[in-house]
């Protein structure tokens, strides 16, 4: 009321004193709305105006809107508006200069008319601006027959308007800053809210000063029971004890270094247990570490997944490790990645002894080229057949392995590695050897008759020669002739026995370079009697300088004997057996046994290599001969095929790989 009185006194004559008096308004740090209202009041009183209004410029639509008014209906506030350039206020705002009517000289008629139209007798309108920036206008009016505004009024109002503009501009700036700060705070709050980790900020007194929504949800707590509470009130005691969380937080305060905490299990009341990974991060201010951030990532699902993956892995590993076969995985370069228990047992080498080495380096030298060739083809995406290559064990032995290999492909089909499954053939080999031996014994039985005759001839010669010698017959040449023939016959009989024994004994295991002709000659010599007894003529058509093959001479002899005896059996009425050898290809030797016998009916052709298939009466054939030939030839990586014309004869062709340089 004091101020009211003071201004009342000075109403008639605005003075410096009244100006200073109202200056206080600005120092009271009023709200801008209040400030504007007060300033308008002062202006009205000091200048004796009927009305006063303040309009602010909205820069977006270049329109002035009433912000405050004195002596006018209050409903115009926020509703009345005028475009820039229209009317008195619009003119002042546009031209940015004060206007005092009716005295103004260079005032457009339209503005003057607008004053008269509103029943004003005098108008004082001032721009509110800071520098070049226009904020709005202040408009004072006299109505009726009041005295018009004076120059003093203009002066007084201008000072006040100028000061008000500055105050409003500062307020606007503050406002803007506050809004920005709020926006930034909201932004940070939103980030904290949406972080899918639990966050807690703890201060030096170990109290929680901030907790994000994720934490509150997961811990089933509210801000009230969390913020301002000590950490040990927020977490269960058991958790605090085993994580030593308080001690760790203190350590972060001391050291200023973050701590990678580790896993912790936390169960909020009524919720299932969850597993978190937690970290402690120092939040540093000007005076060092001001608080510590506790970051908790929920890794329950990840843990669960990890556990399932580990279970699946363990299951797969046990499948592979329980396999009887060797299961080995290789990378594209053929280096060993995994090596199962069966491989360890067979080779005597542990996984760490073979890891990263090539599988080839554990193959016996003879199998390496076949193996390398196969691995190469697999890497190029080609399909391959099983191969046999011996594996060298830790104590230098060789074990026969049949390898079945396949490519591991990525989703895109690119070959990323190779799986090699190896079957130990040792047992099969020994069974095969037994079978081969019994088949051999069976064919020996067939050969026995012929061999007996073969031995009796030289025995007969020896017997006669010895008796002739004893008779001391008067012939000077006779003793020498007898002795010579005894010698010869003994040698022949010995050779027959020797061949017989050689054929009968168990086959040697090793493979060596074999002269096919030598083996054929020996075999056919053993059988010559058998064959010729049946009036079968034997013809040899051997190619000179035939390459050697890599094989087992004992087993090959068995194949040749079987084929020759089969030919003989096919010709009970006699015929011709032609044995041909050819070097059909650079890397292959081809042998043919052609007879002019009864031939094989076409319906039997597919079965002739089956074990126990025989067309001969019980007791005359085991049916094993050809199946064993087949298995022996296969073991030599060769092929055997039969062509037959019933009534005309049969030709059996055996192809064996010849020795090349790399063997």
């Amino acid at each position: 009321m004091d101020r009211q009185a003071t201004t009342q006194e000075q109403m008639e004559q605005p003075s410096l004193a009244s100006l200073f008096g109202c200056w206080k308004v600005f120092q009271d740090h009023l709200h801008p709305d209040e400030l504007v209202h007060q300033v308008l009041e002062v202006m009205t009183q000091v200048t004796g105006s009927s009305t006063a209004s303040l309009m602010l410029l909205d820069e977006d639509d270049q329109t002035l809107r009433v912000k405050a008014a004195v002596g006018l209906p209050q409903d115009i506030i926020g509703t009345a508006q005028v475009r820039l350039g229209e009317g008195i206020a619009g003119w002042v705002a546009k031209n940015r200069r004060p206007l005092m009517l009716p005295d103004g000289s260079d005032i457009p008629v339209s503005v003057r008319e607008s004053m008269l139209g509103q029943n004003m007798c005098s108008s004082l309108c001032l721009p509110l601006s800071v520098g070049t920036h226009l904020l709005g206008v202040v408009h004072l009016t006299h109505h009726g027959d009041e005295a018009p505004f004076r120059l003093e009024d203009l002066w007084f109002a201008s000072l006040l308007a100028e000061r008000l503009a500055v105050a409003l501009d500062i307020a606007r700036f503050r406002d803007e800053q506050a809004r920005q700060l709020q926006a930034r705070e909201r932004f940070i709050r939103d980030i904290l809210k949406s972080i899918p980790s639990s966050l807690l900020v703890i201060d030096r007194s170990m109290r929680v000063v901030s907790a994000n929504r994720n934490f509150l949800l997961k811990a089933k707590r509210d801000e009230e029971s969390t913020l301002g509470h000590r950490i040990e009130e927020v977490f269960p005691r058991a958790l605090m004890e085993y994580t030593q969380l308080d001690r760790q937080i203190l350590q972060v305060f001391r050291s200023g270094q973050p701590v990678e905490g580790g896993k912790l299990a936390y169960r909020a009341p009524g919720l299932p247990n969850r597993v978190y990974y937690y970290r402690l991060v120092p939040i540093k201010g000007q005076s060092g570490v001001e608080s510590v951030l506790l970051l908790m990532d929920d890794i329950t699902e990840r843990e669960q997944l990890g556990r399932e993956v580990r279970l699946a892995e363990r299951h797969l590993a046990s499948v592979v490790d329980c396999a009887n076969d060797l299961v080995i995985s290789l990378n594209r370069q053929g280096r060993i990645l995994t090596w199962n228990v069966a491989a360890e047992h067979a080779s005597g080498l542990k996984m760490d002894q073979v890891n990263g080495q090539t599988l080839l380096s554990f193959c016996a030298s003879r199998g390496q080229s076949v193996m390398a060739d196969m691995l190469q083809k697999l890497t190029q995406g080609e399909r391959v057949r099983n191969v046999e290559a011996n594996l060298t064990t830790s104590d230098g032995r060789e074990i026969p392995i049949s390898w079945s290999c396949s490519a591991m492909r990525e989703d895109g089909g690119e070959v990323v590695g190779i799986v090699a499954v190896g079957r130990d053939l040792t047992e099969r080999r020994s069974l095969e050897a037994q079978l081969i031996q019994s088949a051999k014994m069976a064919s020996l039985g067939v050969m026995a008759g012929g061999i007996a005759h073969e031995v009796r001839n030289p025995l007969g010669i020896i017997a006669i020669s010895a008796q002739l010698l004893r008779e001391r017959f008067n012939d000077p040449e006779l003793p020498a002739g007898c002795l010579e023939r005894i010698d010869k016959a003994v040698k022949r009989a010995s050779l027959i026995i020797e061949n017989l024994l050689k054929f009968a004994r168990a086959s040697r295991e090793q493979m060596e370079k074999v002269d096919v002709h030598a083996v054929l000659d020996e075999t056919l010599a053993l059988l010559a009697n058998q064959i010729s007894l049946q009036k079968v003529a034997l013809k040899k058509d051997f190619q000179p300088d035939l390459p050697t093959v890599y094989g087992n001479p004992d087993l090959l002899q068995q194949v040749f004997a079987n084929l020759a005896l089969n030919a003989r059996n096919a010709m009970p009425e006699g015929g011709t057996l032609v044995v041909t050898t050819r070097s059909s290809r650079a890397d292959q030797v081809e042998l043919q046994f052609s007879d002019t016998g009864c031939g094989i009916p076409s319906e039997n052709l597919p079965k002739i290599f089956d074990p126990f298939f025989t067309t001969r009466p019980v007791g005359q054939g085991t049916g094993l001969g050809l199946s064993i030939c087949y298995s022996i030839v296969q073991q030599h990586r060769g092929t055997i095929e039969v062509q037959s014309q019933p009534g005309e004869g049969t030709t059996v062709t055996v192809r064996l790989p010849s020795v090349t340089d790399d063997m």
Partner: protein
């Protein structure tokens, strides 16, 4: 043809008291030349004139060319079965006595008893053999042949 008439050569060189023409002619058929030689020697000692053949066809040629008292036939020949050859010789020269010699058959084999029954051969000698036995059988066979009754010889075995 490795055919040789040993008897002629030997007789002239050895200057035996008997002349070659008077001695009984024996043909030895065996694919073993050494057997032919040894058996030939043994029979020459016993005063027979010996011819040899290592093949069936060769033997048939000789049998067709002259009359042998006795033919010793081996079962195993490169071109003919001994049993077949016996039959062919009997056909060609019914007076000739055939004796089968073999290391393949046994005396009790069916093929032997069958051949004996049919009269294809009068006796069977299994290898190896004693010279005495061969000589005895040859002697009896020669006698039977000389009597012109080769069937009698079968009773000698």
């Amino acid at each position: 043809m490795i055919c040789s008439n040993l008897a002629d050569q030997q007789d002239s060189s050895r200057k035996e008291p008997e002349t070659g023409k008077d001695l009984p002619r024996i043909l030895i058929v065996d694919d073993e030349p050494d057997m032919c030689w040894a058996l030939g020697k043994a029979l020459q000692v016993s005063h027979y004139s010996v011819a040899t053949a290592t093949r069936g066809a060769e033997a048939l040629e000789l049998v067709a060319a002259e009359r042998f008292a006795v033919v010793l036939v081996d079962v195993k020949l490169p071109d003919l079965d001994g049993l077949e050859l016996a039959a062919l010789i009997r056909q060609e020269s019914p007076q000739t006595v055939v004796v089968l010699v073999s290391g393949y058959f046994y005396p009790e084999d069916e093929a032997i008893s069958e051949g004996l029954e049919k009269g294809l051969f009068v006796d069977f000698i299994a290898k190896p053999f004693r010279l005495e036995k061969v000589r005895a059988i040859v002697r009896r066979s020669v006698e039977a042949s000389e009597r012109g009754n080769c069937n009698d010889a079968s009773s000698l075995g």
